[in-house]
Amino acid sequence: AQTVTQSQPEMSVQEAETVTLSCTYDTSESDYYLFWYKQPPSRQMILVIRQEAYKQQNATENRFSVNFQKAAKSFSLKISDSQLGDAAMYFCAYRRAGADGLTFGKGTHLIIQP
C-alpha cells in the first residue's frame, strides 16, 4: 500500500520569508502523481501544485514550487515570499495513475508570523 509521510506537524515562518514543507512517500508504482493541497480555516481543499512522476522538471506555480526527487521518493513544497493568506494546513497527496482516490499525508500546519 502507498503511504505518504509529512514529518513536520507544524511550521512557522516570518512573512516574506521562504519556507519548505517536507513530504516523502512510498510506492512500488512507476506511474503516479503528487499533489500539495492547502486547507485554510474555511476547510475548503485547494489544489496548490501537482507533479507528474514521469516529468523530471519540477512544477512551479507563482510563489509555490516543488523539489521532486523520484529516486528518494521525496516531494517538498517551497513557498517563497510567504504571505499571511498562506497560513493553512498543507497536505501532500499521492495518486497512482487511474481512477484511485488520493492518499494523503497527515498534514503540516503552517503559521505565518507578521
Binding site: Y33, F35, Q39, S42, R43, Q44, M45, L47, R50, E52, M89, F91, R95, A97, A99, D100, G101, L102, T103, F104, K106, G107
Partner: protein, 112 residues
C-alpha cells in the same frame, strides 16, 4: 456556479440514526469520491466511483454506502450512526484522463 457542492454543510444527529449527505458536480466529470477527515485532520479515501466501477476502501464499514442516481451526483448514506462517525466528509470529482480532483466544501457531521 459552484463546481462541487455538498449539502448540508453541517449535520448534527443522534446515535443510531440514518442520514444522507448529498454531492453534486456540474463539471461533467466521470469519477466522484468520498473522503473522511477525522478530528486530527487526517483525510482518507472512502469510495471512488464512476459509471462502471465502485472501489471501496476496505476499512469503511458497510453502514456507509454511496448512491449515484446519475453521473453528476454521488450521495453518501450512513446507517446506524456511531459516535466515531463524527468527522468532516468531503466529496470530490475528477475528469477522465486528468489527475486533478476538485473538492466540495465538506460536511461536518456531529453524532451525539
Amino acid at each position: 456556479d459552484t463546481a462541487v457542492s455538498q449539502t448540508p454543510k453541517y449535520l448534527v444527529t443522534q446515535m443510531g440514526n440514518d442520514k444522507s449527505i448529498k454531492c453534486e458536480q456540474n463539471l461533467g466529470h466521470d469519477t466522484m469520491y468520498w473522503y473522511k477527515q477525522d478530528s486530527k485532520k487526517f483525510l482518507k479515501i472512502m469510495f471512488s466511483y464512476n459509471n462502471k466501477e465502485l472501489i471501496i476502501n476496505e476499512t469503511v464499514p458497510n453502514r456507509f454506502s454511496p448512491k449515484s442516481p446519475d453521473k453528476a451526483h454521488l450521495n453518501l448514506h450512513i446507517n446506524s450512526l456511531e459516535l466515531g462517525d463524527s468527522a468532516v466528509y468531503f466529496c470530490a470529482s475528477s475528469p477522465p484522463g486528468q489527475n486533478i480532483q476538485y473538492f466540495g466544501a465538506g460536511t461536518r457531521l456531529s453524532v451525539l
